[in-house]
Structure formats: C-alpha cells, structure tokens
C-alpha cells in the first residue's frame, strides 16, 4: 500500500497510543501527538525522557535498533507507518532526518547531495543533477559557501556547514517532513542561529519536527512545543503539548512550569 496524500486533516504525522520498548524496558508510553503540517514542532524535555525515541519512531529509524519494538500507531497520510504493508525504506524517503552530530558522507559535497536522489531511482542529465545540487544547497543556505568547491570532501567544511550540508542532503530527495534530532547541539551559537533561520525558511514547504535540549531554541524557533518527562518507571510520556507561545507563557501543567523556569532538568 502506498502512502497517499490525504488533505482532510491538517496534521502531517499523528501518533495514537504509541508505546516504544527497548527489550523489556518501556522507554516511551502512551503518546498521543499531532504534528501540524508546515509548522515547526519542538520536542523538549530532560535527558532520557524519550523525545529522541519518539522522533525516531516517525521515520522508523528505531527499526535499526535490534531490540526496539513499537506498539500503537503513527499515522502519516492516513496510513499507519507500522502496518506490515508499509516499507520502512519508503517512509524514510518521504520523512527525512538530520542527526545530532553532522554526519556527511566521506565523499565530495556534490556526491553527498546526489547520493539520496541516485539511490532512490533518480533519472536525469548531468545538467539536471547540477541544478538539483544547486537548488538543494541554496535551500540549505550553503550554496554561497561551497559553490567553488563542490568536488571537495564534505568533511573539509566547518561543523555548522557540515550540518547544513546534511540538511541540503535531506532536502535533495524532496521529503515532506524533516526530523531534526538536536541538530545544533554540536554547533557554535552563530551556526545555531543560521540553522534556526534556515528552519523558518524551510517551514514554507516542509513540516519540521525538532528535538532540542535548548529551551530558548524551542521558544525562539518553533510553532508548537511538546514537553516530555519520564515517570517513576523511567518511561517517557507526553506531559503537555500546545502552541509554543502558550506553553512557555502559560503552561497548564505544574511540571511544565517547573521545567521551563529551570527548577529541574
């Protein structure tokens, strides 16, 4: 079954009754969350609260962890991503990901961008490829930095540039959703600012979900915020979810208020 566009709802990804286990350990329990289309949703919470695990459930990256097991549903275009008829490879092609540590391939900048399209059956001329590389790099605000060294290794770039290369690489396969797992935690403040500006740019075409440790970043750069916390069994759960403005200024839950005012975490 293919994932068809379903315009009746405004949510890009919706989780229903989501539980995630690592072996016998329940890492995340009972998540009901609706990610709105073409908005930036931030997942925040203290270390170990399962926010990255939830993010990885959105494009089935947890499949790569042998002991991980998912219960419940993640709905994307009306289709449960975990139903047996869905191919994880297709999911990841439609829902891209940017990782915590910049991880460009040890190849040229050009090949970094073209790898995704090529493995996904891209057919086009050299000129088309050049155009695609330029468009992807421009979208990631990296074109001006690297246009003269497209055939140099991606590893020669600075950390912030590498991360933008990873974003450009994700954009090149034209996903609908981009998941970002603490994309700025390894970057300096100026690079962080650039990535945040980039996210606002990208919001016009893409749905973005970002995990961040940095509450200021969530407050600054997101439309919606989901706050996670672990319970007595160390299982992460969703405490509060709402528009960022509201969650930071007028939280409904006592624990959210304690976290955002820095009383723990």
């Amino acid at each position: 079954m293919t994932l068809q566009a379903n315009e009746t709802t405004n949510s890009a990804i919706e989780t229903r009754d989501l539980h995630i286990y690592y072996g016998n350990f329940r890492a995340v329990k009972d998540i009901h969350l609706s990610i709105e289309r073409q908005k930036i949703t931030a997942l925040i919470g203290p270390s170990g609260c399962g926010k990255s695990t939830v993010l990885r459930a959105f494009n089935r990256m947890n499949d790569l962890v042998p002991t991980a097991r998912v219960e419940g549903e993640v709905i994307f275009h009306g289709q449960n991503l975990y139903s047996p008829s869905v191919d994880a490879v297709e999911v990841r092609r439609r829902i891209g990901m940017v990782f915590q540590k910049p991880n460009p391939f040890p190849k040229s900048i050009y090949d970094n961008i073209m790898f995704g399209p090529k493995i996904n059956g891209w057919r086009g001329s050299k000129a088309d490829a050049d155009e695609l590389v330029e468009r992807s790099l421009r979208s990631a605000a990296l074109w001006d930095d690297v246009k003269d060294k497209l055939h140099k290794s991606g590893l020669t770039l600075s950390g912030g540039q590498q991360q933008r290369l990873c974003i450009a690489r994700a954009l090149a396969v034209e996903p609908e959703v981009i998941l970002m797992d603490e994309p700025c935690s390894a970057l300096d403040p100026i690079s962080t600012l650039k990535i945040e500006e980039l996210m606002f740019e990208l919001r016009r075409h893409y749905t973005i979900v970002i995990v961040t440790h940095n509450m200021q970043q969530a407050a600054r750069a997101s439309d919606y915020t989901a706050f996670f916390l672990m319970d007595e069994d160390r299982a992460g759960q969703l405490i509060e979810f709402g528009p960022t403005q509201q969650l930071f200024t007028n939280p409904k839950d006592q624990r959210t208020e304690e976290y955002i005012t820095g009383r723990f975490g």
């Binding site: 494009n59 990256m61 790569l64 042998p66 490879v89 297709e90 990841r92 092609r93 439609r94 891209g96 990901m97 990782f99 540590k101 991880n103 460009p104 391939f105 040890p106 190849k107 040229s108 090949d111 790898f115 995704g116 493995i119 996904n120 055939h151 140099k152 290794s153 991606g154 590893l155 020669t156 990873c166 690489r169 994700a170 396969v173």
Partner: protein
C-alpha cells in the same frame, strides 16, 4: 576532626618533589626495559638476515668434468647452433643424443638451449667446495690455500648463489644447475588462486555476520568457532585438504572432468582451496572488525535518506571498511605464501622440472623447495636454500607493499 584537609595522606611541601622524582625514576626503569625488548628484537632480525646472506654469497671451487677449452678453440658462446650440436654429438652417447632429440627435436632448439645442454651433458661443472661469505671475506688466504691444495683442477671464484639464472632455471638435482623458476611460478599461482577463493568468501561471510545476522546465540557460536579456527595448526587443514580436495573431489581437482589427465588431485587447485580454508578465518575476523568500526552515524545517514540495507552496505560500509579488509587480506596472503605444512600433507611435489600451466598442474612452492633443499646433505644445498629464502622474502615484501600501497592510496571520497 577539625584538622584542615592538607594534613591528609598526601605528601606535602618538599616531600612532593621527592615523591615525584621517585615516580619518574620508576618510569625510567620501565622505559629501559622497553628499549631492551626492542633491541633484542632488532638483534634477532639482524642475525636472521646475516645468516641468510652469509650462506647466499661466497667463494666456490668449480671443477669441470671436461674443460670447456678442450672442446673448441673458440669460446663456446661464439659458436653457432650447428657447431654446438656437433660437439654435443661427439661427446655423448648416441642413445643419449636420440633421447634428447625425442624430448625436443634438435631442429627446434636454439643456440642458448644447446649451450645449456652442453653444460649439463658434457662439461658437467660441479661445485666441489663452497665457502660462506664470512670465510670468503675474512679468511681468503686460508680458503685459497685449501682450495689449491685439495682441488688443483678447480677454479676459485666468487659466486652469488642468488642470480638471474637461479631465478629462471627449472629444478635440477645438481645444486650448481638448480633454479627456482617452477617454485616461484607455483607459489604465485597458489597465492593468486587462494586469494581469489578466500577474499570474496571471507568478506561475504563477514558482511553477513555483521550486517544481516543480529547478535544472537548462533552468531556468538559462529564467532567463537571462527576465532578458534584461526588458531588451528595448519597441518590439520592439510589433512582436511587431503581428504576432501585431493581424494573426495579428485575428479574435479585433477582436472579429469574437463579431460586433463593428471592421475591425481595433488594439484594447484587443491592447494589453493586448502590454503583458502586456512586463511578464511583470518580474513573474516579482520573484515568483521573493519565493518564493525564503520561509524553507526554513517549507516544512519544513509538509511535516513531512504537507502536500502544493501545500498548502505555497498555505498558506505564497504568503502569505509576497505582499508581494514585489505589489512586482513595482506595478513592472509603473507600466511598463504609462507605456509608449507598443509601443502606437504596434500602432497605437493618437491621436484618439478616443468612450469605449472593451469590450476590442474602438479606444482611445488618456494617454502617446500627450501624445506627440501635444507634437508639435503651438502654445503651447496644450504646455499641455494638461503638464496631461495631471499627470493621468498622479496616476493612476500613485494606483494605486501602492493597491498599496503592500495590500502593507503585508496581514494577515500575526495579527502
């Protein structure tokens, strides 16, 4: 206790200096011991090379059965084919001449061929005495006097046992005429075929174990067994090769299935398959280590773009693991070229006078040739064995250097 913390068990004041000096002295002692270990290793290596070189060069006394100057009044090299043939016919029996003609008709032989025949059949130079390099250099007078007294007919010359003719001559029972061409070709043939079998199988198994098979009890059992197999004595593999490749699969390994009549399965292909089994654990272990060392972030980046498992392995895991895989290949190759025990068990011939020309040929290899020569009585066999050891080491280093070159200069992206 309300004592300040500075009166704890730690040394204070001048005692700090004293103690740190003490610790440094202890460090110096260890450093001395490490230098000692290194020196012992270097001395051992120098001794090894000195021994080999000592045997490979030196003075020899050559005694010709027939003096070449009595055969013709001109130097033999300047004579043409017909003249050489006439001299040969004159000095050997008619029966022997016919026999040589049967082996290869004289019309087909060329001048250098005839010169070789003349040397082997008529002149029959024999090295009646040989001396080590050490004796030749430092006790030259004594050697000269002894040679003149014992072998008045002989000529004393300096001889390098390793020479161009030694490399290209086939096997011969006379050490003065023996060469190692067949052994070199045999060794190269066996090593190349071994790598052809072992590398794809070993890397394939490593990929399966690392990338496809999860961590479960089966993979742990397999891993333990592979590690143990790497330590099994090579002669055991020889027995396996003898039973399976030489005997059970004789129809295949003798080449009978494609119409080659060799009689038995003691062929290059049996040797290569046995060697391949021997080095497989080595290649698998190294390839697994290399694949495991590929950062998980690289795999995730690839999967995150919608790559399949195989695309991830082919485009990212294998290129990143290649240097490590090549390291294992180098180790395996070195082992395969130096190993003799399993080949002795499967029955490699020790005396092969013709070149191997197919995987179904009878063969010998350098280590077996060396082993064979050191067993023979006589100084001269020891010298040609030493020369063969040098050749073996040079081939080994050349193959390793090639592999290391490939590993270090393999283009990693555009780094």
């Amino acid at each position: 206790m309300s004592e300040p913390t500075t009166t704890s068990g730690l040394p204070q004041g001048p005692a700090i200096t004293k103690h740190s000096a003490q610790r440094r002295r202890k460090g110096m002692l260890w450093r001395g011991m490490f230098i000692g270990s290194l020196l012992i290793g270097i001395i051992a290596l120098i001794t090894l090379f000195a021994t080999i070189i000592n045997d490979s060069f030196g003075l020899i006394v050559i005694d010709n059965k027939v003096d070449p100057s009595t055969l013709s009044d001109q130097p033999l090299e300047s004579l043409d084919k017909a003249a050489l043939q006439a001299i040969l016919q004159q000095h050997i029996s008619a029966g022997r001449f016919r026999q040589l003609n049967r082996e290869q008709p004289f019309e087909e032989r060329d001048q250098s061929d005839l010169l070789q025949l003349l040397e082997a059949e008529v002149i029959k130079p024999s090295i009646v005495a040989s001396y080590t390099l050490q004796e030749s250099l430092f006790e030259r007078e004594r050697v000269a006097a002894e040679a003149a007294k014992k072998y008045p007919q002989g000529t004393l010359t300096f001889h390098s046992w390793i020479s161009g003719t030694f490399l290209v001559r086939p096997m011969h029972s006379n050490p003065a005429l023996a060469g190692i061409r067949t052994a070199i070709l045999g060794s190269l043939y066996v090593v190349m075929l071994t790598m052809l079998f072992a590398v794809p199988i070993g890397v394939g198994a490593a990929i399966y174990l690392e990338e496809y098979n999860g961590q479960n009890w089966i993979s742990r059992i397999i891993e333990t067994n592979i590690n143990n197999l790497a330590g099994v004595p090579s002669i055991i593999y020889g027995l396996l090769g003898l039973a399976v490749f030489v005997r059970a699969l004789e129809r295949f390994t003798s080449g009978a299935f494609i119409g080659i009549n060799n009689g038995n399965g003691r062929t290059i292909i049996s040797a290569s398959l046995t060697m391949a089994l021997l080095i497989l654990p080595l290649i698998i272990i190294n390839a697994r280590e290399a694949i495991r060392a590929v950062p998980q972030s690289l795999r995730q980046a690839s999967y995150g773009l919608g790559a399949t498992k195989w695309q991830t392995i082919w485009h990212h895991v294998l290129p990143s693991a290649l240097p490590g895989i090549l390291t294992g290949t180098i180790l395996g190759m070195s082992r395969a070229i130096g190993e003799s025990a399993p080949l002795i068990v499967i029955g490699a011939s020790t005396f092969i006078a013709f070149d191997p020309n197919s995987p179904f040929s009878k063969f010998t290899v350098l280590p077996i040739q060396i082993y064979n020569w050191v067993q023979q009585p006589g100084e001269q066999f020891r010298s040609i064995a030493a020369a063969a050891i040098i050749v073996l080491l040079v081939i080994l280093l050349a193959l390793n250097a090639t592999a290391i070159f490939l590993r270090n200069y393999y283009p990693r992206g555009a780094v």
